[in-house]
Symmetry: C2
Subunit: 296 residues, 2 copies
Amino acid sequence: MTGWRGDATTGDDPPEPRATERDWLAAYDPRAFTPVAVTVDVVALTLRGGDLHVLLVERAEPPYQGCWALPGGFLRAGAEGLAEAAVRELAEETGLEGSIEIDAALSRIHLEQLGSYGAPERDPRMHVVSVAYLAFAPGLPDPQAGTDAAAAAWHPVSALDLTSPQTAGASADTHGGGVGGHPGIPLAFDHARILADGLDRARAKIEYSPLATAFLHHDFTIPELRAVYEAVWGERLHAGNFHRKVLSVPGFVESTGTTTERGGSRGGPRARTYHPGDARVLHPPLLRPGREEDVR
Amino acid sequence: MTGWRGDATTGDDPPEPRATERDWLAAYDPRAFTPVAVTVDVVALTLRGGDLHVLLVERAEPPYQGCWALPGGFLRAGAEGLAEAAVRELAEETGLEGSIEIDAALSRIHLEQLGSYGAPERDPRMHVVSVAYLAFAPGLPDPQAGTDAAAAAWHPVSALDLTSPQTAGASADTHGGGVGGHPGIPLAFDHARILADGLDRARAKIEYSPLATAFLHHDFTIPELRAVYEAVWGERLHAGNFHRKVLSVPGFVESTGTTTERGGSRGGPRARTYHPGDARVLHPPLLRPGREEDVR
DNA sequence: GCAATAGTGTCTGTTAGACATTATGCC
DNA sequence: GGCATAATGTCTAACAGACACTATTGC
């Protein structure tokens, strides 16, 4: 089972300069020398009931049978790019394709590349390089029964209790040993680390980009936007200062001129509605509070 | 030549749920179904004579014969991780391995993952997914003759005249068509975009991290550190304010208690020397000037 | 009415950046 | 001496965050 490990590349190197080695290798039939698989995994985050959730699928077969894992699958070689594969896997494994309003929700999804994970031993079957993507989605329903989603569900990230952000949040190029075994739900492969990296990215990203609006539907209120920040950052924010700060950032939100139909569930005036502006970055940014202690 | 394109994955899907498809596929011999190659390319940046340089190698064979390209090569399947491969390729293709002081310089190199590029048509030979790494290196000598470096050289990035940062600086998941054909030196494959992404990352990274010190040797002066920022950002900085700002960031630099042997080449007092502190992030950050115009 | 919330006003400590100043060393 | 530079000091406008306040709605 180890015979496939790098024989063609580590065996008999030609005496030519190595700068042309890749060309030399490329002249060969790809099947003969590159036993590496490429998968695409997605960290899909959404807000459900005020809490941050991540989409997981339960593995039905070994390895890691019975473990939950990030949705993903093999790249279709020659037929799709990385981002395409991520969108396809997300739609397939959520079972959230087809209906009109769900397509509308999917079309609002923000997708960005998170990083690649390629330690040789991260998959016991073979050397698998996984390209991870991070997705922000507005509130999506549960994966529908009868499709791939039979073994898929949204999980609140607070219940997952991942390894501490200090260690798990390291850059993607230093993923050595620890496959995540944490108290709550054990994740397959190194998906605990990928998820932790995704959460770190999300928490940092909404500081400098307007992507928090990707968690909301087209029209939203400032308190709803504040709820996104509070859910992602996991801490309460000052309502008044947040409101003024958001409106002071040019291009972050744009007023629709209308208000909500009703006030809050526990009273209060009706909030004005906004939709995302045309800013791609936030100037000035919305910085997380309580970070003045030096992170070393 | 197109027969390898995704036959096994797009052909006859079994009727089982797709959630187990990857397991089903994994039971096969990897060589039989995954004609995808994984390469690792490195955007290696260094400072030479006050200007930012990038390491490029000249391709001796098609495709893109005669073009310059980022150093890189195929991942040795089963034998190394992604970061390992990046270090190996960098050492091999620079020809900068062996000597004591060069090893010391290489050991100070900062390496981080930049992103992955996997459009099906980015390599005319086959579907190649490239994992790009970004490296910050202190001043390195020219690649030595007689090694792989015969066709390798440092190029000032100012002479490359890449496509505008607005378009090229988009996230790594939106690399559709344009392989970079720009006035100066044409780069192979989509390496112009990778390089542009790397430069954007570098310019943003030194705002919030102390990695600018990775361009310098162990002991450096504040004016030398300012020269790094000026070279990477491409604009002059106010010497006095920069000095005070750097010293006000806890853990950024640490005084050595000594000064340089001589003053500047054009006079002035001898500068105090510092070495990198233990901070991993800069609080507060050193923000680029002149960015208050909203970038949309 | 009561409580909770939306939205605005005010104040204060901190900071970024422009500018000035002094000391030092090369030519 | 002339000049460029290292390093520090001073001033001001802007900003973040704490706090207070009013208006509006659900119960």
